[in-house]
Symmetry: C2
DNA sequence: TCACTTATGGCGATGGTCAAGCAAAAGTTC
DNA sequence: GAACTTTTGCTTGACCATCGCCATAAGTGA
C-alpha cells in the first residue's frame, strides 16, 4: 500500500506522472521537477531513483551551470524496453520492432494469407518476431508489449475478432492469450484502421485532440480520435463510412447489398472494376494507383471524382464532429494530390466556416507504416500509463 | 496537503469517490463500503464523518440485522444543496430550482426577448431565481451552482458566447462572472442543444455511453455524448447537422447561403414557409405541430418527409459514430410518432446491421424540460465530481 | 434475562512525505 | 590555486493518513 502526494489541483503525482512529464517534454533536472510538481526535493529524488532502478529514465547531458555545480538532467529512456508491432492485412503484413518512442528498429513486409486461420498466422508471427529480435541482438525478455492490428472488427477489451468478414476461423479467437503465452508480454489488439489512426495522431501530435483518419484502400473506413482516445462506438462499429450513401451513385450496387455506398464508387476495388470496363488492366487498388501515376486520363478522372465523393461524406462528418485534422491514408491515397484535391474541394465548399477555418486536410505522413507505428503507440500508451508505471516501480 | 489511499488498481479512493458510489447506487452500510473500496473500516468511517459534516450524506434506514447490531446505511443527501437551472431560447425561457438528484422543485416558463442584451436578461434571471427560491422557502446561500443554456455557440471553458447569430450584444459577454458575483455560486454555461443532450442522457442513463440528441425546432442541431462526456469538437462547433446537405433538395436555398441544407427542408421554419405556400396559416414551428396534431394532410406529409430527410443524415452519422441511442427532441418533435417513423424508416434501411441492431431511436422523454434538467445535471456533475468533493470536505 | 452476533468508536503503530540542515561534490570566476 | 556558487546525497524530526486491534454498543434468539 503506497500513498501519494496530491497537487493543489487534486491530481496525484507519482512516479508515473513524473515519467509522463519527462516523456512528453525534454530532459529535466531535479530542481525543474520540484518546480513542476510541487513535491519536496527529497521526494522527487526518491521517485527518480525508483525510475532509474527500472531503467525507465537515464541521466542525460548536464544542464547549463550558472556558476555552481551543474545539475544532472534526466531523460526518458526510450531503450528501456522493446515493443513488437504488427499490421496484418488481408494479403499483406508488416512487422516491426520499436523502442519506447515508437522509433522503428527493424521492419519487414510480407505477403500473407490471413485466411489460413489464426494458429498458422500467429505461429508464423511469433517465429518472425523472434528472428527480427535476434537480428538486432535483443531477447524476448526485453519486450514489454505486443500490438496487433487486424483487418476486421475487434472487441478491443478482450482482443477477440467479432464476426470478421474476411478472416475465416478467427471469430472470437483469443489472440491476446495465445500470443501472450508464447511471447511473455501483454498483447493489445485492435482494428487496423484504428491503429493507423493512432499512428497518424502520434505523428501530428500534439497539434490536435480531434483527428479523423480515412483509409482508402480496397474498401473505405475511418478511425476516430477524440480527446486523445479512440472512439469505438457502442458496438465497436464506429468509423464504417464505406457504406454511407452518396448522392451521385444511386444505381451502383455495393457488395454489402445496398445501393449507392461510398465504397462502391470511391473504393479501390470499385475503381479497378471501372478501369477494367474501360479496357485498362487493373486487378486491385494498387493497379489503380499505378495507372494514376502513369498519367492515365481515365484513372486520374476516376480518382479525382472519388476524392469528391469522399469529400461529400466527410463534409457532413466535419459539420457533425468538428475534427481538427483529417488525414487521408491507405493504398489509394498514395496516388498523391489527386484524391486530396477532390476532398478539399468539396469539404471547403460544403462545411461551415467555423468548422473549416482551422481544419487541416492532409495526406498520411507515415504511409504504409502508419499501422505498425500505431500498434506500437497503442502498446506504449498502455505500458507507460502513469498507473502502470507506478505499479512497476512499486513491485 | 492530504494523502490518499490507492486501490490495487491504482485509483485513488477519497471522500469524493465514496460519495460517487452512494450517489449512483443505493444506500450502503460501512461494511459494504469496506468491501467495495478495499479501505480499512476506520478509514471509511472517517470519510463518512467528513461527508456527514458537509451534509452530503444522511443516515438512512437500518439494514437487515443478521442477528447482531444492525448496521446504519448511509445515503446520498439530495437535499444538501440547491441548483439553479435555466434554458434560455430566442423567444422563450424556462427556469427551475432543483435538488442534487436533478429533481425539479419549482419551475417556470416565460416569454423572453433575448435580444435585449445580456445585462437586462441576466438581471431579470437573477430576480426571478430569487423569487422562486423565496417561494419554496430557501435562501441563495444554499445554492451550490448555476447552470445556463444559451441559444448559440458558447465557449464552455470560459462560459462566453462566441459570435452568436441571434443574440446581439452577447458576444464574449462574461456570463459566469456577472452571474457569479450576484448569486454567489459557480456558473456553468453551454449551448442549449448540449444541455438538452445532457438532460436526455441523464434520463436514459446508465443505458448507454454514446448518445446523440437531435433538436428539431426552428433549426436543427444535435448534441453528442460519448463516454459520458459532451463532445464539443475542435472549435466547439460539433453537432451542427442543420447544414448538412441532403440529396433531395438541391434546389432549396438555405439561410446560410448554401443549397440543399437539411434545415432548409426539415427545419420548423422551412416547413412553416411551405405550409404558407400551400395556403395554411403557419408562422413558426409550433404552428406546424398544431396542424399536424389537427390531422392536416399537408402538414403530416411534410413532417413525415422531414423525418426521412433527418433519417438520411442520421443514417450516415450512425455508420460513422455508432451511437447506442438517438433521441429526437425540440418543438417539432412534439408532433409525435410521425417524425420518428420517418427517421426509423431510413436509418434501419441505410445503416449497417451491426450498428443498428441495438440502436434505440426514440422521442425525448423530458420534452421541453430537457434543457433545465440538463443544465442542472451539468452543475451537479461539476459540483459533485470526486475531486471537488474532496476539496469541500478538506476545507 | 443471558449468551451470541455484529457494528461502531477509540487508540497506538506504521509508513510515506515534508521541511530543514549539513557536508561533500563539482563546477565557475578571479 | 583559492574563494565562491550551486547541486546533490543523506539524515533527522515532525506530521498525518491509514491500518489493525480491542473494548463497547446495540441488536437477535433461546
Amino acid at each position: 500500500m503506497t500513498e501519494r502526494m496530491r497537487e493543489p489541483s487534486g491530481q496525484t503525482v507519482g512516479a508515473g506522472a513524473l515519467l509522463t512529464i519527462l516523456r512528453h517534454g525534454q530532459a529535466r533536472t531535479r530542481a525543474e521537477l520540484v518546480q513542476l510538481t510541487g513535491l519536496a526535493r527529497s521526494t522527487v529524488s526518491q521517485r527518480l531513483d525508483a525510475l532509474l532502478d527500472q531503467r525507465w529514465i537515464v541521466p542525460a547531458e548536464e544542464a547549463i551551470s550558472s556558476g555552481g555545480r551543474p545539475a544532472i538532467a534526466f531523460a526518458f529512456n526510450r531503450n528501456a524496453r522493446l515493443v513488437l508491432a504488427a499490421d496484418l492485412g488481408a494479403t499483406h503484413a508488416r512487422l516491426a520492432v520499436t523502442d519506447l518512442a515508437s522509433t522503428v528498429l527493424v521492419e519487414r513486409a510480407f505477403d500473407l494469407a490471413i485466411d489460413r486461420g489464426p494458429e498458422e498466422t500467429l505461429g508464423w508471427l511469433v517465429a518472425t518476431f523472434r528472428e527480427m529480435l535476434a537480428e538486432i541482438g535483443h531477447s524476448v525478455a526485453e519486450v514489454c508489449g505486443v500490438g496487433l492490428g487486424l483487418p476486421g472488427p475487434v472487441e478491443h477489451a478482450s482482443g477477440r475478432p467479432v464476426n470478421p468478414p474476411i478472416m475465416p476461423g478467427w471469430d472470437a479467437f483469443p489472440v491476446p492469450d495465445w500470443l501472450g503465452a508464447r511471447l511473455g508480454a501483454p498483447v493489445l489488439v485492435d482494428n487496423d484502421v484504428n491503429i493507423m489512426a493512432l499512428g497518424e495522431h502520434w505523428a501530428v501530435r500534439p497539434e490536435t485532440d480531434h483527428l479523423i483518419f480515412v483509409k482508402v484502400g480496397t474498401g473505405i473506413g475511418c478511425g476516430i480520435i477524440t480527446e486523445r482516445h479512440l472512439h469505438r462506438g457502442a458496438q465497436g462499429a464506429a468509423g464504417d463510412i464505406g457504406h454511407i450513401r452518396v448522392t451521385s451513385a444511386d444505381d451502383v450496387v455495393c457488395r454489402c447489398g445496398n445501393v449507392g455506398c461510398l465504397e462502391a464508387v470511391a473504393g479501390g476495388a470499385a475503381m479497378a472494376v471501372r478501369l477494367r470496363q474501360a479496357g485498362e488492366t487493373a486487378e486491385n487498388s494498387r493497379d489503380v494507383v499505378r495507372l494514376v501515376r502513369a498519367g492515365n486520363t481515365q484513372a486520374v478522372q476516376l480518382i479525382r471524382q472519388a476524392g469528391r465523393e469522399i469529400g461529400d461524406v466527410l463534409a457532413s462528418i466535419v459539420n457533425f464532429f468538428n475534427p481538427g485534422v483529417i488525414v487521408i491514408g491507405g493504398d489509394v491515397a498514395e496516388a498523391g494530390e489527386h484524391i486530396l484535391a477532390g476532398v478539399r474541394e468539396v469539404i471547403y465548399s460544403r462545411s461551415l466556416p467555423l468548422a473549416t477555418q482551422h481544419l487541416g486536410i492532409r495526406a498520411s505522413v507515415l504511409g504504409d507504416r502508419a499501422g505498425v507505428v500505431g500498434a506500437a503507440v497503442m502498446v506504449i500508451e498502455h505500458v507507460l500509463a502513469p498507473e502502470a508505471v507506478d505499479l512497476s516501480v512499486a513491485g
